[in-house]
Assembly symmetry: D2
Homo-oligomer: 308 residues x 4
């Protein structure tokens, strides 16, 4: 199989402080599709073009943030193989039984050196993308809000970026598509990690502390869709961080905004097609403004300062 | 490594009957970037965002068509492994030494049951995409014509589609993203094969005879780019087949047109993100019109009848 | 006032053979907004960004076609002035009292030499565009289907194009933005007439007979909107004529399709900004294919043969 | 004639401090087409789709700013009529003889109460838009940079906005498409004035002092063109103010940036179709942020503070 091992960033569990407000935001503004609600009150959502049961889980909590991020691997054998390699790197791993999340198969859970909880899984119930498997249309009826096609990636803040990169590249086979380094080249400030052909499935920015959540990104199909997304965000008075604009890193179009709990969402579009024989691109910290916001060419305070 | 084995459709060698006319078409209208010219008169070209030396080779000949199509694999070990698996399936393979094409490493050549010559290679000189590797811009200066980012896929016509599919899936690890079947479900009329996350890297349509070339496709970034491409095609009086329009199969936007020798080119954009756990989509022959041309919902004579 | 006299193509009354099917098409597929239903069974509709009560009236009849087309003039004085000028040209005019159509003021009705009934009116009840007049948003909620902003123009077929052009230019102050002529330059085959800055508010193509209706066009904001319109047309299995494609004449993007009664609709986008000091563009009949369909560069049978 | 009186904002003369730098900016980055250079060193430019000789004149001076803005009227009779109406309002008018600017006919010059010099003219040499008048293509070859189709409007800052509005509406027949008022409704803070179907040809914002120049705007055809414009602005390191983003007022898409002398340019796209029977929209100062920048919903310091 051409794509094997880790296929993609598949899930993210986000803490929200008001479930009704969050449900309205994620279903009616962002426009994810609800695929289930747990007996424990958690809400399960997905991008419309995802076949798996869910990609986003909302959990009510007293403070916002990310509980964990999950990556789907090609098969159960790969799951076991990655578990061994994680342990070989000295990480503790834990098996979460199938069914602990709705529709979810068995998972391998571990914590990377930036303090973020990660999971691998090979199996999830497939609920389809709302289109027939025979002679389908190009999009389903009844979509609401921005309706991204899929959960795309997360950007996470934490102290030991080198450690997190080592886990993803050495144990899990990710490639470093782009990186941000200090002017003297000695400090890895940011790392954009790809497991298949997206320019990133997960990224890390060096920051004090552990386990900070910068954003979860959702894919829309075009620059035009970013405009209609921005129209809706204003009409619904969703708090904007920045955008529509474009990243230098990944070249993707973007809008950053906040859910009612203060978690940052991104609608992302475009970005180049990554292959593992593509050279790693480097950004120096003095050009990071253009790297993050290609048009403004400077970081805003929100981007740097606000995480959950 | 997450993407291993066959990474992508990497090269296509196309026969043209008038090299000067072809060079003008491929460089100034399609807008590929020239990366070399062989002592044997062959012209080497690439999409601007490709790092490898070339993806298209033009060879002067008395009749148009495709000489061969090449796929880049992750490393030399994979090359040897695929060679064995091809032989295990009963195919003859041949090693083409490094340097036989400009910038090209050693290749494994074989012929699939539809009569098309295919190659695998692990190495090619990298010439870059015209952008710096440190603090790059989002696009290079001086692009001409339609300037697709990369060579995307080929569609080939031939009799033994089942045989070709078996080679690609069993020996090379491709997945069947979509297929077209007869109404009774017994005859495989078309097969769209993916090796990574594009909905196809190569496709086959059942047809009398061997080795027919339907089109080579080049990727542009948006539906808007298809409009500016179509503007240029008319201004330059390039022979149009159809478009801009949209495929049901792959969902991609498309224009089909012809080079001066009569080979069909496609500019392709969009298409969903394919993963190997995505179910194979099926089209029945009575809905093939909508599958190929989602808006017209019927095939035109050119699409069916003209190959080289 | 800078724009005075005839301001725009304002209304069109279309005959439909099945009102329920037509209502579904015009409201849910084309996405006009219903603004009223007459006691006589006629249905009143408008594009969402129109402030006047209606721009489209559907009337049930045994055969499809256009009953009449209306143009809004700047004030009652202009209405009387045009009435005199029409009579001076030898046309019969008739006053239709206010209220004969829902929300409509008094109208001046006349028949142009191609056999089409035309109306002028200075007043219509304003119902607004769904947005506040103070601190508005950029678009209203609840739009359905393609939801064009406004009724844009009609193309009409008839024998005496020269006569119709004389009425519109000499009596009503329209300008000839573009025209199609025979190769010898002696026969006016087509005329595209502008009253303000759109490249046409009404157009005529020479054809046998009187009073034929080729299409009514509705404006969408971008080339991207034409793609989503085409997606919906296929999903709803609306009969397509051609598109998305582009006109050489006016440069506008277009899709042509049919309502359930067989009347042709157009979704139109773009087109240059016309001013009366812009030279009239001429097309010769041998280039008419490219003039009408810039990408295909040839007319299709539907375009020429199907009118209602 | 349907459009009579003032047809459009036709010209703007801008002061630049370094002509070579300005020429590079306006020709290669903004991508206006050079149509002449005066013996006095002034440079004449136009948008590619304008037929008149020029719309922009650059004059070298010690300080940036706008010398004057010109409006084209339908004919010489209108010119004389407006001259009388301006005098009737108490303004001094001056005739500038034909030929004082390259290709320009006679002009009527006057100063509005905000201190801005304005001109009216009925005649200018037509040089064409680079396309044939018979059987044209949809765009000319050889365009560079952002290449807007035409000069669209200016926004001007000054103290007596009420006075300027009175001149434009009472003497010149403009309509107030949108206005910004203080919370108590007593102070007119901003006025967006239309002479034909664009939502503004000239706009004023109340500010201390006289004759300040906020920006000159140039029209591009789509939201997509704003992205490619922004790409180029960054690549050329042109100083950005804000964008791509969208206005609430006019609904147009926008990028604001600066020429090398510090004058603000806008690339503008979209905006609704204005007609004189459309109600004037009002914005209250507390919502002005959303009115100017619909996505950010707040003004930035540059927008308010920087004029030339």
């Amino acid at each position: 199989m051409a794509i094997s091992g880790v296929m993609r960033a598949g899930t993210v569990q986000i803490r929200v402080t008001d479930m009704a407000a969050a449900a309205d935001h994620y279903e009616n503004v962002l426009g994810l599709v609800r695929s289930g609600a747990g007996a424990d009150g958690r809400l399960y959502l997905k991008g419309w073009d995802e076949h798996d049961h869910h990609s986003v889980i909302l959990r009510r909590a007293d403070a916002p943030g990310m509980d964990c991020m999950g990556f789907k691997v090609s098969d159960r054998e790969a799951l076991s193989s990655f578990e061994r390699r994680l342990r070989d790197l000295g990480l503790k791993t834990e098996r979460v039984p199938a069914g602990a999340d709705l529709g979810a198969g068995e998972r391998v859970r571990f914590v990377v050196p930036t303090g973020h909880t990660m999971e691998l899984y090979a199996e999830m119930e497939q609920v389809g993308n709302g289109l027939a498997l025979e002679n389908p249309e190009v999009s389903p009826d009844g979509l609401r809000g921005i309706h991204p096609t899929h959960f795309d990636h997360c950007l996470l803040y934490g102290d030991d970026v080198d450690g997190a990169v080592r886990v993803f590249t050495e144990a899990l086979g990710f490639k470093l598509a782009e990186r941000v380094v200090s002017l003297d080249g000695k400090v890895l400030i940011g790392a954009f990690l790809a497991c298949s052909t997206k320019p990133h499935d997960v990224a890390f920015i060096r920051s004090e502390g552990k386990g900070k959540f910068h954003h979860a990104a959702f894919y829309v199909e075009s620059w035009h869709d970013l405009k209609t997304a921005a129209d809706l965000l204003t009409k619904r008075r969703v708090k904007l961080d920045i955008g529509p604009t474009r990243h230098g890193i990944t070249r993707g179009g973007t809008i950053y905004f906040f859910d009612p709990a203060g978690n940052r969402n991104e609608t992302f579009s475009g970005g180049y097609l990554y292959y593992p024989d593509r050279p790693t691109l480097s950004w120096t910290e003095n050009e990071l403004g253009r790297g993050i916001f290609y048009y403004d060419r400077r970081l805003n305070e929100n981007f740097l300062g606000v995480t959950t």
